[in-house]
């Protein structure tokens, strides 16, 4: 059986629609796709604006601040790399300047800390968080830190 030391955490498959997100992430920036024609933000990224059907988009820089919208604590059975840190947290963050944009992520004690590094008692819907990036398998992954640790 495979173990956590040989199987890494899953990496996103970077496709055409999402590539800019990861390019900006590598520069430490959280950017969200926006329609160039009508200005609406959209998530996840896609080729066409659902509001005005324009195919022109840009990537707007966000403050990186948000609030926890919901969270879970997965327990095994899980894939080995995740089971090693279980129970960990997975959270949904609503962005401060665009609450309808919600990103799935993890609340951690430091950008490169494991997924179980925050005391579960600190998990609370509405808690304010700030994005940080950390290298996982060569990709800059967003992680979330409590604004008041």
């Amino acid at each position: 059986m495979a173990d956590a030391t040989t199987e890494p955490l899953l990496s996103p498959t970077i496709d055409t629609d999402g590539a800019p997100f990861w390019e900006y992430a590598a520069q430490g920036e959280l950017r969200i796709q926006a329609c160039t024609a009508c200005g609406e933000l959209r998530w996840p990224p896609r080729p066409c604006c659902p509001h005005c059907q324009s195919f022109d988009s840009e990537w707007r820089r966000m403050s990186g601040r948000g609030r926890i919208w919901s969270y879970v604590r997965p327990h095994p059975p899980l894939l080995p790399a995740y089971a090693a840190d279980a129970p960990y947290n997975a959270i949904i963050v609503e962005l401060a300047e665009a609450p309808r944009i919600r990103l799935v992520g993890n609340l951690v004690a430091a950008p490169d800390a494991p997924l179980n590094s925050v005391d579960p008692d600190r998990l609370r819907i509405g808690a304010k968080v700030q994005v940080a990036f950390t290298d996982v398998n060569g990709i800059a992954m967003p992680r979330w830190l409590l604004e008041r640790p």
Partner: protein, 383 residues
Amino acid sequence: MASLKDATAIVGIGQTAFAKQLPEDEKTLACRAIVAALDDAGIAPSEVDAFASYTMEETDEVEVAKAIGAGDVTFFSKVGYGGGGSCATIAHLAAAVATGQANVGIAWRSRKRGSGPRPWKNTAVQLPTPGQWTRPFGLLRPADEIGMLARRYMHEYGATRDHLFNVALACRNRANQNPAAMMYERPLTREMYMSSRWISEPLCLFDNCLETDGALACVIVSAERARDCRQKPVYIHSVAQGLPAQHHGMVNYWNDDPLTGPAWTAARHLWKQADFAPQDVDVAQIYDAFTPLIPLSLEGYGFCGRGEGGAFTEGGALESGGRLPINTGGGGLSEAYVHGFNLINEGVKQLRGTSTAQVPDAATCLVTAGEGVPTSAVLLRAP
């Protein structure tokens, strides 16, 4: 415009045993359920000319038709999104038969999940999809995805674990009356529920459906033909599918209002086409892969107002003799998890008057498919 209302009927149902492990393969189990359903209807396999299934079904209609000895097949469909497609098979066959594209339709489900691979083992294949925005963060399994909605739902509306327990208990109590159910001889208590292990907090072991081996099938013909069949017909009164605007697979977090899921969309069409309303439903079979899907569905299908789904479960409302008895065979939580097809057959049993937890004089039944994913539903009516 032609109406599907009561134009077709379910005239045969069949199933295999349910177990953690059955020796036969999925194809064989599928054929056994289908042959049993045709025998129940008194219709020869050579008369079958339509098939409908839904994704994550490994046996295709070519194999099934060949094995059972079907005639020339003139209609076949396969609906996406796994458990969201169960009732859509009935909808598609009803449309095909009502419009003359076929005469005898078979819908089925065969599953070896009790002894087969775990769904989260396949997580890596979902990374080229929108799963790339969830899976790497450890949202690996359906329980994790629905747990997110459940946590938010509990936060917004004050729903509690006791409400989720009410759902699990109602299903278990009905399974305890059903000798075919996986949990027939295994009662559930509040203490067992509250002290069980977590799967994905806030969801514990008993909030999750059962991994089951087994197969089911049903036979659909025109209402006219149904009069000559062996069994009392169960009419297909109204059908609907639901894929809400800006919906995303099973992770409905990215639209404006994540707590009004696909059930709300399907319900609007379902009731618009029906001669009766939610308060006229005698018994309901509501897709229960996870307990929180029940309060969400109760709201979506109009049995209570928004945010009231948790409170609706109080006072034995979901039990036999309650306001809305649900999942009277035990459901996915306690009879068998075969992507909801047992709910369809149980609905038929109720309207035939042959359920192991029979609702007296049940004449109307709602059956739903998976909430949280693009879904479907059907209203059944007794003659």
